[in-house]
């Protein structure tokens, strides 16, 4: 069993769901949640929902957060400020490309690795060339 969960933050519900689907297929058994889209269902971020999802996942263990671009990253940082203090250390942002990072993180999480290793795996994906994968 793996204790580290993934959280995919995106402007788009469709994009987040696609990343979740792809990463889950590569890493069965890993909990992958999404917090995506604006409160009205359109494109955007809902910081309060991101924070609530972080807390929900952190209750069970470490959380590796991946985000698409711009406001999703700022929204993740703002959400971290809202997360209950006793849970905050269990939630880490991985500064990584969303697709490659999510897959790398999910695969490593499926081995039962800890939060540091999962975040590191995601961030290592940053420099990956498509052709050498």
């Amino acid at each position: 069993m793996s204790a580290v969960a993934l959280l995919v933050v995106s402007h788009s519900r469709t994009l987040a769901e696609g990343v979740r689907e792809l990463a889950a297929q590569m890493a069965p058994g890993v909990r992958i949640a999404t917090a995506a889209g604006a409160v009205d269902g359109g494109l955007g971020v809902d910081v309060v929902r991101i924070a609530a999802t972080m807390e929900e996942l952190a209750e069970a263990g470490g959380v590796c957060v991946l985000a698409d671009i711009g406001s999703s990253v700022m929204g993740t940082d703002a959400a971290l400020e809202l997360v209950r203090e006793d849970l905050r250390a269990r939630v880490r942002f991985a500064d990584a490309p969303l697709v490659e990072g999510a897959i790398a993180a999910a695969v490593i999480a499926s081995t039962g690795a800890g939060l540091d290793a999962v975040v590191a795996a995601a961030e290592e994906a940053r420099g990956a060339r498509k052709r050498s994968l």
């Binding site: 604006a38 409160v39 009205d40 359109g42 494109l43 955007g44 971020v45 809902d46 910081v47 309060v48 929902r49 711009g70 406001s71 700022m74 929204g75 940082d77 703002a78 400020e81 809202l82």
Partner: protein
């Protein structure tokens, strides 16, 4: 100190209502500014956020300044959606923390809250003056408010100085080349357009200044 020179929750709530009204009036202009360099939704997003704030009137209007600011922050964080959600949300959240649970703020306390808000926005957006962001409105505004305060200015004078400086700061973003957000992808092509976030920041501060200049409600 004259009670008119303190900002209590009731007066702050009137300022929040004025912000919502001014954003509503100027949302088309904000969206227009956002079209050439942003994703064209700043006015719509901010208007949606402030309308959601107004819907919390019953819960918020009777609270102390810190609680009102926190309520505004949480509502904007949830409803604005674009980059301005996390940025304005953080701004008001840090203001709320600075205001604490004091029943009212004097001019010095309000300026300290703005300083905390500006620090929060810079941290959240990783932006510095000159990057063509709302930091370019808030930085001169906070400096002007600090200066007016040091010169003995009261609440209304401090906010008037801040609003004027924010407006000038927003106008000064026009020739700048954006270094943050979607506009930064445009490089040199972002020059020649006034930044929407700096503009809405000036609108918000002007709304506060308007209410401060009016006689307090009895």
């Amino acid at each position: 100190m004259d009670t008119a020179e303190r900002l209590d929750g009731a007066r702050l709530w009137r300022m929040v209502e004025r912000m919502a009204a001014r954003v509503a009036e100027r949302r088309a202009e904000l969206t227009e500014l956002d079209q050439p360099i942003g994703d064209g939704d700043h006015g719509i997003n901010l208007h949606r956020g402030f309308q959601a704030v107004l819907a919390k009137r019953e819960a918020l209007s009777g609270q102390a300044p810190g609680a009102i600011l926190k309520g505004v922050a949480m509502t904007l964080l949830s409803t604005v959606g674009g980059a301005s959600g996390p940025l304005y949300g953080t701004f008001f959240l840090r203001m709320a923390a600075a205001a604490g649970d004091a029943p009212s703020l004097d001019a010095a306390g309000l300026v300290r809250a703005f300083e905390a808000g500006l620090a929060g926005v810079k941290e959240r957006g990783k932006a510095e003056p000159g990057d063509k962001t709302m930091v370019d409105a808030w930085t001169p505004a906070v400096a002007a408010m600090r200066e007016r305060l040091a010169a003995g200015g009261g609440l209304a004078e401090v906010l008037a100085a801040g609003a004027a400086a924010a407006e000038a700061g927003a106008q000064a973003t026009r020739p700048m080349v954006a270094r943050r957000g979607r506009a930064s992808y445009l490089g040199e092509r972002s020059a020649g357009h006034q930044d929407p976030g700096a503009t809405s920041s000036a609108i918000i501060l002007r709304a506060m200044s308007e209410v401060a200049a009016e006689a307090p409600a009895s």
